[in-house]
């Protein structure tokens, strides 16, 4: 005990803490970097090149090296291997997929999108994590696991971003629609796809709480700004961001009541009728809302406001149910006009 000095103990402790943080930091810690490099085998690189080529027609070797984060040497050796296995063919400078290569690429895309669907339906991971997790998992799933996954999810057609999922036999739905920045003013459309790459733009779309499958009406659209209304909320986007949202113009018979709004926009003493639950509410959450009676045609009204503003208690089918804001904004309503204050 004679040599005891609290300052030394304290410093040793802080050094240990700093070391642990360096090793286990999720972003660039030694441990996770190690895991990543361990996983970055040739197989992964080959599959990533296949995906890249599937989405981009006229790519040269230089383009591939620029787009992917692998080392120069690894990509070159991968390309050689792919050439010998006839997954790709070279036409002058351009690298192109053969039929076999395309089949393989579709399998990886299927794995990626199925896994995203799985994450959205069966787990609690946040939206912004789906893509990165699927990027890892797509290389790990075997054919058998993919079939099981598809079966578990009921052979879904689209992933949670609205991208089509290729079938086992390589069929893929071709989606129509244009990007939001090109939809003319006053026209009414429906959001059918939200692109999750690049991450920065996706983050902005998420922050604005724009929902897949919501019906939109363009108010203003020019080089500087795209303004549109959806679910009773007005959104303003720059055209760069709007380009990452795909919409489909709606035929007049498919247009919902233009007065549709989110339940979160309901005010005290207003009553409303539910038209449905947004596609953004998924899995267990969606089923729970249905179980509680938030179904088409049900009447709803605010029962209690919280002292801290969230959650709000709604009166539905004679029961008072409290929902958080992120739930109530995924329930669509039309406000009943003319019967306010009738209680």
């Amino acid at each position: 005990m004679n040599s005891y000095n609290p300052i030394i103990y304290l410093s040793v402790f802080f050094v240990l803490v700093v070391l642990l943080v360096l090793v286990f930091n999720t972003r660039n810690g030694v441990y996770f970097t190690y895991l990543k490099t361990k996983n970055a085998t040739k197989k992964t690189a080959v599959e990533d090149i296949l995906k890249l080529l599937y989405h981009n027609d006229r790519f040269t070797e230089a383009d591939i090296i620029e787009q992917l984060e692998y080392s120069h040497g690894l990509i070159e050796s991968c390309l050689l291997k792919m050439l010998s296995k006839q997954l790709i063919a070279k036409e002058s400078h351009f690298v192109q997929l053969t039929d076999e290569g395309e089949e393989y690429a579709l399998r990886i895309i299927r794995a990626h999108r199925l896994w995203e669907k799985y994450l959205s339906e069966k787990t609690g991971f946040h939206k912004k994590e789906w893509h990165d997790r699927a990027e890892q998992k797509e290389h790990e799933l075997s054919d058998e696991e993919l079939d099981q996954l598809a079966k578990l999810l009921g052979n879904p057609k689209f992933d949670p971003h609205g991208d089509p999922i290729p079938t086992k036999s390589g069929k893929i739905v071709q989606k129509k629609g244009t990007d939001l920045s090109r939809l003319p003013v006053h026209s009414i459309g429906k959001i059918i796809h939200i692109e999750d790459e690049p991450a920065a733009i996706y983050k902005e779309i998420l922050a604005q709480k724009i929902h897949l499958h919501s019906q939109i009406k363009v108010i203003e659209s020019n080089e500087q700004i795209v303004v549109f209304e959806a679910e009773g909320v007005v959104f303003k986007l720059t055209p760069v961001v709007a380009k990452n949202i795909t919409v489909q113009e709606l035929d007049p018979e498919n247009i919902l009541d233009v007065n549709n709004s989110r339940l979160s926009n309901l005010k005290i003493n207003e009553t409303a009728t539910i038209i449905g639950i947004s596609k953004e509410s998924r899995g267990e959450n969606r089923r729970r809302l249905l179980d509680l009676g938030f179904v088409k045609g049900a009447e709803v009204r605010i029962n209690l406001v919280n002292p801290l503003n969230d959650p709000t208690a709604f009166l539905i089918k004679g029961t008072s149910i409290a929902l958080r804001k992120d739930q109530s904004e995924k329930i669509l309503i039309t406000k009943n006009i003319g019967n306010e204050n009738n209680t």
Binding site: F125, E129, A322
Partner: protein, 473 residues
């Protein structure tokens, strides 16, 4: 064979058709069923009035969820329940302990001696097993018998869901469910009961959070430790006229610190290991109703108090045996207990504790109630001062100052007391709670996490306090 082929064809066709129908099919079907059911209900079920919107319910709701009255009312009620529990339990506890410890214990000792039990058998059974069980009953039963019925009454009346409603946005910030406010409060009574109460949270992620962090609620078994140490050591550093206020503030401070740790670990868990678990939210606010008083009292005694007490007894009995054994089996020239105490002294010193305290917390895993008696007994044994009634026999003293003398003889300082108070808040749950956590989660992994996490927090906090204290003073 041919039939099988036909089957396969049909299945393939159905898969194909299903795919053509599209993703919305399932949802549309479900929604249609619900909508039809709603229509049928509307036609056939007559509702006599729009309940819950008018009258007394709305008036109560407007008060208990109002900006001005909501939170003070809540704090007042929780404080009142806790106060009533702690104060009210003193008398029956004193009666029980004088009966079980001062009358029955000597009687058992004498009668076993009279029928000719060897000393080690009567020591093992009476001083070890019986004493631990008696202690747990005397300290645990009265507060639980007061706390749980009060809590259940509030629950039956319909007030508690409103508390969850008011508190939700605070808990949401740390990734938890508003109902965790209730399981946390229940934990102030007993962590095992708090863990069972998390069944009201029906979202998997939030429920696990509530289970793992329930131990940060200072339970009934730990309040007496806090109060005793605060009275002896914290009360002594301020002028005498303020001493009771200072010690009260210290105890409340520890409980509040526990709430802080609960929020912190809820947040940390929801952002790391639990972020993949499914998370949903819903909270029903049922109409108020007059509780069925006697029925409530009866069921809360049976369902909560007795079950928890039984589990505690089951775990306390072997602990008593172990305590007696380690004190009475000698290796070389010292008992196992003395050997363990000495070998842990160094580590204990770094944490601002000592070997006696660490050993007491290890052998007292079954019940926090026996920590102080064990500490006293071990201190007397190690220091060799004369008090208590022999090695392996737990005891407690009626006078606070006599207790203080023994602890000070054991080398306790203000730092030791503060760190024991902190460690009492931040250490592994008792074995009853650990077992209950396993029962509720059915997962070894989460049971281990829930058991280890608070100890690590306790080591870090006491370590930091000890070093900083020694640098400053």
């Amino acid at each position: 064979m041919k039939e099988l082929e036909e089957f396969d064809k049909i299945i393939a066709l159905s898969n194909e058709l299903r795919w053509q129908i599209g993703d919305d099919f399932h949802d549309d079907l479900t929604e249609a069923i619900y909508a039809d059911a709603a229509k049928i209900v509307k036609k056939t079920v007559v509702q006599n009035s729009q309940k819950g919107t008018l009258g007394i319910d709305a008036k109560i709701d407007n008060i208990v969820t109002s900006k001005i009255w909501g939170f003070p009312l809540m704090l007042f009620l929780l404080g009142f329940v806790l106060w009533l529990t702690i104060i009210g339990a003193n008398y029956p506890s004193a009666m029980l302990s004088s009966l079980l410890l001062d009358i029955v214990h000597p009687f058992l000792k004498e009668s076993t001696a009279a029928i000719g039990f060897p000393w080690w058998l009567s020591g093992f059974l009476v001083d070890g097993v019986y004493l631990a069980v008696a202690w747990v009953i005397a300290v645990m039963l009265p507060p639980m018998a007061i706390f749980f019925p009060l809590f259940t009454l509030l629950e039956d009346f319909g007030y508690l869901p409103r508390v969850a409603f008011n508190m939700d946005s605070l808990f949401k910030k740390s990734g938890a469910h508003g109902k965790q406010a209730l399981t946390m409060s229940m934990g102030f009574g007993c962590n095992a009961a708090g863990v069972v109460a998390t069944r009201i949270i029906d979202s998997p992620r939030e429920r696990l959070i509530a289970i793992i962090t329930n131990n940060f609620s200072l339970c009934n078994g730990r309040w007496p430790t806090q109060i005793l140490l605060a009275t002896i050591f914290i009360g002594a550093v301020v002028p005498e006229s303020y001493s009771s206020i200072a010690s009260l503030a210290a105890v409340v401070g520890i409980a509040v610190l526990g709430i802080f740790f609960m929020f912190f670990f809820s947040w940390a868990l929801s952002k790391t290991v639990l972020k993949g678990e499914v998370s949903t939210f819903n909270l029903e606010l049922p109409p108020y109703r007059t509780p069925v008083f006697w029925k409530t009292i009866y069921t809360s005694l049976i369902d909560r108090t007795l079950i928890v007490l039984w589990r505690a007894i089951v775990f306390a009995a072997p602990a008593g045996a172990v305590i007696w054994l380690i004190c009475n089996i000698t290796l070389g020239d010292e008992s196992i207990a003395a050997y363990l105490v000495h070998s842990m002294d160094g580590f204990g010193f770094i944490l601002g504790l000592n070997g006696v305290i660490l050993l007491a917390y290890i052998v007292a895993i079954p019940a926090n109630e026996i920590v102080i008696p064990t500490i006293l007994m071990l201190t007397v044994m190690v220091t060799g001062i004369s008090a208590g009634s022999g090695s392996g026999v737990m005891f407690e003293l009626d006078s606070v100052s006599a207790t203080a003398d023994i602890l000070k003889a054991g080398g306790w300082t203000l730092l030791t007391a503060i760190n024991v108070m902190l460690f009492s808040l931040l250490h592994n749950p008792c074995s009853t709670t650990i077992y209950t956590i396993y029962q509720e989660t059915k997962s070894l992994k989460w049971t281990v996490v829930a058991s280890i996490l608070p100890v690590i927090a306790g080591f870090i906090v006491t370590f930091l306090v000890a070093q900083i204290w020694r640098i400053i003073f």
